[in-house]
Amino acid sequence: MDRALIVTLALLTAGALTGPAAEAGDPEAGMDAFATYCADCHSTSDDMKNRKGPSLFGIIGRKAGTVPGFEYSDANKATGWVWTQDQLRSYLPNPRAAMPGTKMKFDGVPTGEEVEDLIAFLETRK
């Protein structure tokens, strides 16, 4: 067997053993999902423009509640979260449940697939 194939098989086995790996999102579809669900309140342009919600440019890896010039709720600032992919996965389906007291008035992203697509899109905005 050639080496690449062995590595691939090994990775696939490891993937199978560690449980279903989330299917990687599609950034293009994520851009549409962002336009549908988020763009009314958030911008991802690199000028860090705040709207009803803070700028999401460079959000992945950033500490929660730290965009300059945006008035966050106490709930958001108090979390101490860092917006990793996993943190977004647990937040986006139902923000108010994940962060009681948040002033983000959004009911949640309906499907897991759209959440993955959004994360893939946000990864490109930094």
Partner: protein, 448 residues
């Protein structure tokens, strides 16, 4: 005279265009966009008002007071210039030639957050053809977010001067299609009271609750202010309706917002007693309007938007007062109206709207009497028309030129009347046909 107004309208149009073209850094009310950091297209279908998206509705229900935190001046201005051509001249419009190029309105707004949870939409308008300044629609609001068993509730208070101006949907009252008209448009003889019959002539207060972003309930009362007050805000008292006691207004709606699309169904009620000839010692007319309305919006990624909405109104009329003074033959009567509009918007920039309007009701030869152009030969109010509008909204998006200052809507509306004031031919008793009122309206609407 005519040449003068034409030149002044032209100058205004040029001034308007200059404002649009030369101011740095969009929306129906640009001060809202500046305050929230949102683009006009977040709150309005087609990047120019007034038609609201659920996001715009939430902003209104939160008292126009949401902001990014930084203070921005809550002021805006708008100008509407139009050219109206009716198929046949309007002989009643003394000396005004058909094909009028007019500055219809020049308006200034106090619009946005005033302090804390208090905000305003308050318009002062210069009526071009009438050459007068006057108070226009005013909606002063306060709102608080609370929770009932973990369900979010927005509680609101509105002090306003036009039943319906505070409504979050665009199906009746001041915010329904068509959103503007020429000051020279020939109006049909009857409309339900809730469609503008009390506008700017009353003051009222309503309280509302929007529960779980789904259930909307509202109730309140309206009264006629003193003549002195009306006079001071530029409303001619002798032309204003006079309420006998308080009018009652109630509204309920159910909305679902799925992000990609949304819908609502609702009902509204307005009951009022009106004194004929503004004389409260005479018996009064009792009017009750029941409106049933519904709407659907497909927003998707906002690239292609479809919006359909409509309302049916039944008006119960007990015209004892009008009969007493000889303005009506019968006391017990009704009036009904139905209108629906469907629009398609591409890229928040190009919009096509198809509208249908119908009013019908019991006949009354005294109430609807023959009169050139404005009257009725048959004593019937029945009017049915269709209109087709095309609009171009070049700015107002996030990445637009001049955002959020440059805002412009250019529109063309064709209206055809099947029947007018009760008939299709010789409807007024003076030889005018319904189709003689068919019109072409071109307009330029800017906001700053």
């Amino acid at each position: 005279m005519c040449r003068n107004s034409l030149t002044s309208a032209l100058w205004l149009a040029i001034a308007g265009l200059c404002l649009v073209a030369f101011t740095p850094s969009a929306s129906a009310l640009p001060s809202y966009a500046r305050q929230t950091g949102d683009s006009c297209s977040a709150c309005h279908v087609s990047a120019f008002g007034p038609q609201l998206t659920p996001h715009g509705m939430a902003f209104k229900l939160h008292a126009y007071a949401e902001s990014t935190g930084a203070w921005t001046p809550p002021v805006s201005a708008q100008a509407i210039v139009s050219y109206l051509s009716t198929s046949k001249d309007n002989p009643a419009s003394e000396g005004e030639a058909n094909g009028n190029f007019k500055m219809d309105e020049l308006g200034f707004f106090l619009a946005g957050k005033i302090a804390g949870p208090v905000g305003a939409f308050a318009q002062v308008t210069y009526d071009g053809p009438g050459h007068v300044w006057g108070i226009d629609n005013v909606d002063l609001r306060a709102a608080v977010d609370t929770e009932m068993d973990q369900t979010p509730v927005v509680l609101g208070l509105s002090v306003n001067n036009n039943p319906g101006v505070q409504d979050p949907w665009n199906t009746y009252g001041p915010w329904r299609y068509p959103f503007n008209d020429s000051a020279f448009a020939i109006g049909s003889i009857a409309a339900p009271l809730i469609d503008g019959g009390l506008e700017e002539q009353v003051i009222g207060a309503t309280v509302s609750a929007f529960i779980d972003s789904r259930y909307y309930v509202e109730a309140g009362v309206y009264a006629t202010p003193s003549d002195g007050f009306l006079d001071s805000v530029g409303v001619a008292p002798d032309e204003a309706a006079k309420l006998d006691g308080a009018a009652f207004y109630a509204r309920a709606g159910y909305q679902r917002d799925w992000g990609k699309d949304n819908m609502h169904v609702g009902a509204a009620l307005l009951t009022a007693n009106l004194s004929p000839e503004r004389d409260s010692s005479l018996p009064s007319d009792s009017i009750t309007d029941l409106v049933l309305d519904a709407g659907y919006q497909f927003l998707g990624t906002r690239k292609q938007i479809v919006n359909v909405q409509g309302a049916y109104t039944y008006e119960w009329r007990d015209l004892k007062g009008s009969r007493f003074v000889g303005d009506a033959d019968r006391a017990s009567a009704d009036l009904q109206s139905f209108h629906v509009d469907a629009s398609y918007v591409y890229d928040q920039t190009y919009e096509a709207v198809l509208g249908l309007n119908a009013v019908w009701g019991s006949s009354d030869a005294a109430l609807y009497a023959p009169d050139p152009v404005e009257g009725s030969r048959t004593g019937s109010p029945d009017t049915t028309s269709v209109s087709l509008e095309g609009d171009w909204v070049p700015f107002g998006k996030d990445d637009s030129y001049g955002a959020p200052y440059a805002n412009l809507k250019l529109g063309l509306r064709l209206t055809h009347n099947f029947t007018f004031n009760g008939a299709s031919s010789n409807y007024d008793g003076f030889g005018r046909d319904a189709s003689d009122n068919d019109s072409v309206l071109a307009f330029l609407w800017t906001a700053l």
